[in-house]
Amino acid sequence: MLFNSLHFLLYLPIVLVISNYLKDRNQKIFLLLASFYFYMAWNIHFIWLLLFSIVIDYFAAISIARLEKTDKKRKYYLILSLVTNLGFLSYFKYTNFFLGAVNDLNFINSFRFVEYNIILPVGISFYTFQSMSYTIDVYRGAMEAKKSFIDFALYVSFFPQLVAGPIVRAGTFFRDLENRLIVNLEVIRYSFAQILLGFTKKVVFADNLAIVVDRVFTNYSSLNAIEIWTGVFAFMWQIYFDFAGYTDIAIGVARLFGFQFDINFHFPFNVTSISQHWSRWHLSFSTWIRDYIFIPLGGSKVSRLRTHINVFITFLFAGIWHGAAYHFVVWGIWHSAMISIEREYAQTKLSKFLNEKGGMVYSLFCRIFTMICLGIGLPLFRAKTLTDAFEMLKTMLLINPNSITSSFSNYGYFKLVAFLFITGYIFEKYNLKRMLESQRAFTVFILVNVFMLLCYGVSESQSFIYFAF
């Protein structure tokens, strides 16, 4: 079920009203069933996969908790959980990618694996990560195993975060499950504002930007450098509005049920470095890879070389998580390279000097340079193949002969993207809570959003980009 569908607009109030009439265990069972229904609205068969994952992780965590910390069997139960989750993920998401890679390496002369027609179960990358983090935390002793199967099942499958995150940590979810936020008028107002804003981000901004992005990424071979850069920056904003919009709706909806999920985005383009970008972009994922990959590898408390290797492995994983294709792998490597160079540069005297004396000019330069670096990575993220991505990059970096020569036809989109960057900076310090303090500001906020949705909303709205990951 899509948040931006009539089905969801009917589903949410019904679930909200019924769950308000129920208490304790009955309410949890109802929310669990409602979440299964939400998932089955997409595909009824894959519910078994979700249930299987829940049962295995519940069993593994309970078993780990029952054993002494020194008992080696604990590790086996953890491995069972990891193998199950990563096994499902690998099969559904990466089978064809691995077979294709083997074919490309040409190990066996003239033999080719055929591609399988495998449907990617929606949300699998999110709920497996969420479920795995729970068993890892129990194994580490960072949290207690949940005895209630209903509670754990609801943690994995709670509908607002089920199909595209945020990847909620077990500690956060169970804290709220036991001690639910009182949904008073203030909470409802805030949630309503956040959901409305989420819809605007998705239906008005992301879906309109999709038009220019699709045009540029489809016809890149006949476009010049400015047009491709415009399309690339438009994509930067499209993916932000799409995913941040989804997250706003998810967090807002969850709050109506008394759950307070952490923010997932915080003006990720108003940054002076790539690492700063990652501290504001898809936070539930970036902190996940930090806590469960980078730090276990030794993080930055090891040698410089080892730290760079850890960064490389972490971002390689991030790339592959986003999709089973070479271009995602190269995108991950590109980000790891940027982070590593940035770390090295931060150690230099020049960096320290400019940080102290550079002022506004240096800050502006850093922001522009960071956007360019992020922009270079985006064809790798969005293009259909690695070849397409490299061709686009050649034009963007003025290597292709038609980079300058072909005529630039539409400055309107260029202005639009510039407008988005400027407003992004202006609104960074202006948050929803401040806006809700004033009745007048809240009225204007509702009207502006409703008018934008009416006048500029794309009626045949597209699916959320992160559903594909």
Binding site: L16, L185, V187, T443, L447, L454, C455
Partner: protein, 390 residues
């Protein structure tokens, strides 16, 4: 039991409070006031120039506004084929000896239902009308759908909306919640138009000035002044047309990108329209719709003259001759007492020089179409006057 119910409602108390939140109420009031403003028709003048909604208002209002100068005996109804194809000025000059006056409410893109609603709008004022010249799109019975096109919805909601809803059911359209919302709520119907207006208000305001000036200066709504012709593009058939006109790279001198695009679109339409010649559910539905359309005219004792407009040689594969026969045979019980077939009115020689694109005539084609129609009408009306049957 009663106590339980009260308690349950208290659980939702905060949501009921939110419903009464000052900001929410204020926003709803503003939206309501804006809807009332739009319902008052104040926005009609600001509609985007040449949009479907704007056209239907402009054409019907122009005809009504010029009633003191032209109180018509004959009304022309139809689509773009009539709008582009007939010069009302020329027609009126030709009809002068018979002391008859014609006016047009032909609207580009108008389905039968829109033509009917437009006719109802003007007939209440035009009391002298005795004849309707209905310029028919011959292939329409085979291309019909039960689902609304956005254009039809947009135009129908500009006319009498109560009648529009009645007629929609009468004409067996599939109407859902969204269609009804579109017709009833102006905010919903005008939402995209308002969006464009906000982005470019200057152009809209200038357009209002221009349209007011045009109304003052012109007796007639429109006169086809396009001199561009198909002959500028040397193509053999529809497939060839699509190849040559697919982009702006092969625009010959005398043409322009708009002309190129119009040719491409009509060729594309022709390529995609694989039409049968059989009687089917679609042709039967068209029969019923045509009957509904003419019912009003019969009630008012207004006679219908059916005109089959000229077609270009490029549409030869559409078997227009056979289709005209189909009309005459299958629709004879609903068609008017006079049928004027002008499908072959344009000379074969240099046929393409009379057409703007493969469907619509240009200025030269319009002159021929109007003259041929005038000749037929003169003969017909003279005959009727002689027989005292006018």
């Amino acid at each position: 039991m009663e106590w339980n119910l009260k308690k349950k409602w208290l659980v939702m108390k905060e949501y009921f409070l939110f419903r009464k939140d000052k900001s929410v109420i204020s926003a709803l009031v503003v939206l309501l006031l804006f809807e009332i403003f739009l319902q008052g028709g104040f926005y009609k003048n600001f509609l985007k120039k040449n949009s479907y909604a704007s056209n239907v208002n402009r054409i019907t209002d122009h005809a009504l506004g010029k009633q003191s100068e032209i109180d018509p005996d004959i009304l022309i109804v139809g689509t773009s084929l009539a709008y582009e194809g007939l010069s009302i000025q020329t027609l009126n000059e030709k009809l002068k000896p018979l002391n008859l006056k014609a006016q047009t409410i032909a609207i580009p893109g108008a389905e039968l239902i829109v033509q009917g609603l437009a006719l109802e709008k003007v007939l209440n004022k035009f009391k002298r009308v005795k004849y309707i010249i209905h310029v028919n799109e011959i292939e329409m019975p085979w291309t019909l759908g039960i689902v609304f096109s956005q254009a039809t919805l947009s135009m129908a909601s500009e006319l009498d909306r109560k009648r529009a809803i009645e007629r929609l059911y009468q004409d067996e359209y599939k109407i859902g919640f969204e269609e009804l919302t579109y017709i009833i709520l102006r905010l919903w119907a005008y939402r995209k138009d308002i969006g464009e207006f906000i982005l470019n208000p200057e152009k809209r305001i200038k357009d209002i000035g221009k349209s007011k000036k045009a109304f003052k200066e012109n007796l007639y709504t429109y006169e086809n002044n396009y001199i561009e012709s198909l002959s500028l593009y040397k193509f053999q058939d529809v497939k060839d047309c699509l190849k040559i006109t697919k982009d702006n790279t092969n625009i010959p001198p005398g043409s322009n990108p708009f002309h190129r695009e119009a040719i491409f679109k009509t060729c594309k339409l022709a390529e995609e329209s694989v039409l049968s010649l059989e009687e089917n559910e679609s042709t039967k539905l068209y029969h019923r719709r045509l009957g509904n359309f003419y019912k009003l005219l019969k009630e008012r004792n207004i006679k219908v003259i059916n005109v089959f407009p000229p077609i270009s040689d490029y549409l030869g594969s559409f078997q227009y001759g056979a289709r005209v026969l189909f009309w005459k045979e299958k629709y004879k019980d609903v068609l008017g007492e006079k049928i004027i077939d002008l499908t072959t009115a344009i000379p074969k020689e240099e046929n393409e020089s009379y057409f703007y694109d493969i469907v619509h005539v240009n200025k030269k084609g319009m002159t021929v179409f109007t003259e041929k129609l005038s000749e037929s009408l003169l003969l017909y009306f003279k005959e009727r006057q002689e027989n005292n049957a006018f």
